[in-house]
Symmetry: C2
Subunit: 264 residues, 2 copies
């Protein structure tokens, strides 16, 4: 595996004193995805789980429907090229090519809220204890090794109501979630009734990514946008933001969170 960090020599200032010091910074790596012999996109990413990233990206952008669509995949880790042959969705490709991208995303899967209205709501009756949310968020914080070293990455996790099942880190918040979904597809890990935790802001793009996997709960230490909240409402997704210590805000479908824990 390619290193995810790189040593650097810095000058460290504290007040008026300064010293040369050894430090590490996060690596930024260009991964070019070639789909059916056509250059599709170059993602700047953290150089780990690059197969998972490529597959998750294709799924999130609507270019493949699942693992069964992938006929062949070759990853050249040194050159940063993932070559994929797939039964690609022609309509998905058309939409992908029409749209370039958005704020902090890349290759957005939609332009307007009306495009999202065609989506079916998430089917799940899953609920969770507020205590479990606090516990998962705490474990999530503790897991991020690269973040502690460099302060420069986002994390994402797939959980059930007691445990973190998959955990990924990347310089991009979209990439981190795509790596999770790539793992799910490649390893056949189900996502129904499960939970995504992200270190980043919950925008409409993140919300839709999660909705496509039929995931009913989305948790963040950070904030959601107004469009994400409206989509969460409509698509049956529970958005939990600002989970810090023993506090949280629930922005949509709060019926999934049971506050009457046994703890107090």
């Amino acid at each position: 595996m390619v290193d995810q960090t790189e040593p650097v020599t810095i000058k460290r200032l504290a007040g008026s004193s300064s010293e040369d010091a050894d430090d590490v910074v996060i690596r930024e790596f260009p991964l070019t995805i070639i789909l059916n012999n056509e250059e599709l996109v170059t993602l700047l990413c953290s150089p780990a789980q690059m197969k998972e990233l490529a597959v998750g990206y294709l799924f999130s952008e609507g270019l493949i429907g699942g693992k069964e669509d992938i006929k062949n995949m070759v990853l050249d880790e040194q050159r940063g090229v993932a070559r994929i042959e797939a039964e690609s969705d022609a309509e998905g490709e058309r939409v992908f090519k029409r749209l370039i991208t958005s704020g902090c995303g890349r290759g957005a899967s939609f332009v307007s809220e009306s495009d999202a209205r065609a989506m079916a709501p998430v089917e799940s009756t899953a609920t969770i204890d507020s205590d479990a949310v606090f516990r998962l968020a705490k474990e999530f914080q503790n897991r991020s090794q690269v973040f502690r070293e460099t302060g420069g990455v986002h994390s994402a996790a797939l959980c059930d109501d007691g445990n973190i099942i998959l955990f990924s880190e990347d310089i991009g918040r979209h990439n981190a979630i795509d790596k999770i979904f790539g793992s799910c597809l490649l390893e056949g890990i189900p996502t129904d009734d499960r939970i995504i935790i992200t270190s980043g802001r919950i925008s409409s793009e993140i919300l839709l990514k999660v909705a496509r996997r039929n995931i009913p709960m989305l948790i963040s230490r950070s904030a959601p946008t107004n469009v994400a909240v409206r989509m969460g409402d409509r698509l049956g997704i529970t958005i939990i933001g600002f989970v810090r210590g023993e506090r949280m805000n629930i922005y949509s479908n709060d019926w999934r969170v049971r506050a009457d824990g046994k703890r107090h």
Copy 2:
């Protein structure tokens, strides 16, 4: 001006007690840029300074060289459409169309480090006192009103060694900087020898955006990536990260920062 936030009703949990509460979330707004009658991109942004965003975006992507290239611009704030007629750079357009985008950017201006090697280093002998860095970073933190309300935005500022000259906020860290550069172009504000402060991570894309404006110093509360540090080294840009309280790390061209302040 369109509102930048939206009121929502949330359920707030603290420990095992819960209550309904009024809150505000950040708005996410799609701005479509139409360049010379062709749909170029839809940016998800905060709905303020949208003219500045459109112009700054075209500049950062290499599609225009300056204000003089803009023949006409009409902004429809309600529909979220900026229609621009410009003397567009044909080579810039070609490169733009070839590349889609990257990690947390949109429509990247380059793919590899070698593409950046063609850039001329920043020409500036500007230096700064470490005290001034601490003061600017503190003022920058204090300015972000929308962030304090919603926790969901990035900020960017253009400064000289004593004052913040321009300040912008947006849901995207790229957009916030593009708004600053759009203002500079539209209002004829010079950027030579000046400083950019950003709330976000310093990736290669952010570094190159700043280099294109011949800006010699880049400050962040957050971390740089390895590629940004290498480019900063080569392009004569001083990268200052993790500015917190009275501490900072200098990753490149540290000669611009004078630690022997008069204060202590």
